[in-house]
Symmetry: C2
Subunit: 435 residues, 2 copies
């Protein structure tokens, strides 16, 4: 007999998502040109991390349990057994949110997840019950929200960002259009601070307007903000901290603030859910049920490492990020400075090159006067030794064809200097080519 062969066209449509193939293309390019300077990966910088610390962090959490009266057998169980599906460190996370983010929720509203991605997935699964339910996303957007939606057979509705990021008026128009089509907007996903991919940050006024709109139009806001605490300078309030009406599900990540290898994130879901028989619970309880069918629970070992890090910093995640925020801030400033030097005014405008100037985060957007597609990326890597991400990857319904995303998080100052010089040569060559 011949071995079983499956036709890809007969598998679930999500595996044919072009985003996955383009990401593979980017990985191949990165692999094929190891000496290129790459502005592509959104990797956290790991120079401040020490492997030995992991052991200390886990031990600190176990000592903490002992101090709080756990017996050796209970401590053993904590690491050995499955543990509660909602998580073992909900109290510590809730406490850190009070300290770091002025957010006061009880531990039962927190669900510990396998990274923020699982928090996204669980929330979408709970809220999107049928084909009439619409998910809106600020666009361009993180591929993880689009991917999670497509796994559930949902095509997100893009709400285009303006040059300065999200505008509430555009969302209002998109909501009206959805309703006119007979659909029910359930949730709006946004990265309000130093967004991936655009680098844009939502103003305080827009934050208030968004919450008012959510209350008026009866939808939830899914707030994903992994770059806040790793950005220098003053932080605007989170949507969740401004949320008086429990309109915000906060999707939390420790991948940038502590370490990605923990794979620990969380959802804050304090919305009240009323069953037909009148019994009330929280949306968090429903997310826990879904999690029991996806991953059962988040590794207690990983949770112990995260808990140990929080305990080591007086219960705050922010304390770990002073050095990294400064590092990323310097990388961003150096990138912007080099761009300024390589594309001086007034020629810049004639060339058709411009970029935004994020005050934090990992990313910025650069508009170029030619299609920034995979073919251009291949020429950039081959002829100029510089790699970047086409912004078109991040538009669920098309767009961004003349923009690129630059990530600065993982580069040294020397890489940035050399990389932007190469990028300038590439852009100049492409502009000449397309003329």
């Amino acid at each position: 007999m011949a071995p079983a062969t499956l036709r890809k066209a007969e598998l679930h449509a999500s595996v044919g998502d072009p985003v996955l193939d383009t990401m593979n293309f980017l990985n191949e390019i990165t692999h094929r040109y190891p000496r290129a300077v790459s502005f592509a990966p959104g990797r956290p910088y790991d120079g401040f991390f020490d492997v030995e610390d992991i052991f200390r962090h886990v031990r600190r959490y176990l000592d903490h349990l002992a101090e709080r009266g756990a017996t050796p057998a209970e401590i053993r169980d904590t690491l050995f057994q499955y543990g509660p599906t909602g998580g073992q460190i909900r109290e510590l996370i809730a406490a850190s949110l009070r300290e770091d983010e002025d957010t006061d929720v009880r531990p039962g509203a927190v669900v510990v997840t396998v990274g923020c991605q699982e928090a996204i997935f669980l929330t979408l699964r709970a809220l999107l019950a049928g084909p009439q339910d619409a998910l809106l996303v600020s666009s361009p957007c993180y591929v993880g929200i689009t991917g999670a939606a497509r796994l559930l057979g949902v095509e997100p509705t893009a709400v285009p960002e303006g040059r300065d990021g999200f505008r509430c008026a555009d969302l209002e128009a998109a909501l009206a259009a959805e309703k006119a089509r007979g659909r029910r907007p359930r949730a709006f996903y946004v990265v309000p601070d130093h967004s991936n991919p655009s680098g844009a940050t939502m103003s305080t006024a827009e934050r208030h307007a968004l919450l008012d709109l959510a209350d008026r139009e009866d939808f939830l806001v899914l707030e994903d903000s992994p770059y806040r605490l790793v950005s220098p300078g003053r932080r605007l309030p989170t949507l969740k901290s401004l949320d008086r009406d429990r309109r915000v599900v906060h999707l939390g990540s420790y991948s940038k603030t502590l370490f990605p290898g923990a794979r620990v994130g969380f959802a804050v879901a304090d919305q009240i859910v009323v069953a037909e028989d009148g019994r009330q619970g929280l949306l968090a309880d429903e997310l826990v049920k879904i999690k029991s069918m996806v991953t059962v629970n988040t590794s207690p070992l990983s949770q112990a490492a995260v808990a140990g890090m929080l305990l080591a910093a007086d219960g705050r995640a922010s304390e770990w990020n002073t050095e990294t925020a400064a590092y990323y801030g310097e990388a961003m400033r150096a990138t912007l400075k080099r761009l300024d030097e390589c594309f001086p005014q007034p020629g810049r405008e004639a060339l058709g090159v411009r970029w935004n100037e994020p005050a934090g985060g990992f990313f910025l957007t650069l508009d170029v006067p030619f299609p920034a597609d995979n073919a251009a990326l291949a020429r950039s890597a081959e002829d100029h030794g510089v790699i970047w991400t086409p912004m078109s990857y991040f538009y669920p319904q098309g767009g961004g064809e003349h923009s690129i995303r630059l990530s600065v998080s993982y580069l040294t100052q020397a890489d940035i200097t050399e990389g932007i010089a190469r990028l300038a040569r590439f852009i100049t060559a492409e502009a000449a080519r397309s003329r």
Copy 2:
């Protein structure tokens, strides 16, 4: 404004799954009667586990990387960064399958997952593309397969087990019925060894017949077998080791063999997938894509602990299970012996009590002469101090109303002696009550 309130009926139907509520009921009962002997939880026994070992296991893996030439920076990256979505320890898992299970697959066919549950979820998502695609399950079945299917809006089709477990003829009839309804059977899920919940084991002849049927009728077999290596005595070959035509996706768990707190499982998916343009890959590659949208990757820290344990046992998982298999075997034998003593023949038959006699695993099935429902469970806990699981929880389309599941994995010999005595008093009282 009043806080946002969601109606449960408007959330995804999976959160209303009655199985989740019954599991909650079971948890409540367990919580309310802490002094009852509980035959309910399928928890692995943790008496042979030492917290300090975790540190040694992780360190062993890091040393292994160093011995293989990894630099300190590379080792740091391995624990700190996200890591590959398919997993960091695929080679070690593939090697352990050769040693333990006579299964020869290349590392690229292995996907490391957040427990076996994620492996189940990814596989179902890949294979169930639309409403015409049918999932069949040996019934009664593990709640994790039903739950994962319902998250995807799929109602599994139950293939009833006979008294001695799975019969291929019943599956064949169910396949024909599905096809007659215009549906396409894509996969059949089964726990061939010491099944959860029934305790049944599939004979070697049925295993061969099942693989022949899968090849003839063109579906995949999803093999989940967490209790094999923790059972005493001779093991029958896995379906995967008998699989000549790549008909079997093996869903692997380390929760019983190593420790549940790792949350590390895996899928072996070496099926060939052909794209429209003729390019070929493996089903594992498609599962990796889906995983990138669910959990991104499995915690490198957890993977390091598992890898260290495999390395400590010459690359085998089985080596860790000699003591535990003996422990579980003694618990099962003691339970069967006590049942024999408490329900002597010939009265047993007149009473309408009978049970199966698994040679391994955590579970056995006991038939009783009254409805073994939640009300009976509450009386059992309150009046007799003994807790068990209604078998009806495990039937996707009804059944098992007069059966209970007994789990023996977490009890001492003294608990078993006392617990079965209490159970006998409960059953005698209920039988009198229902007469």
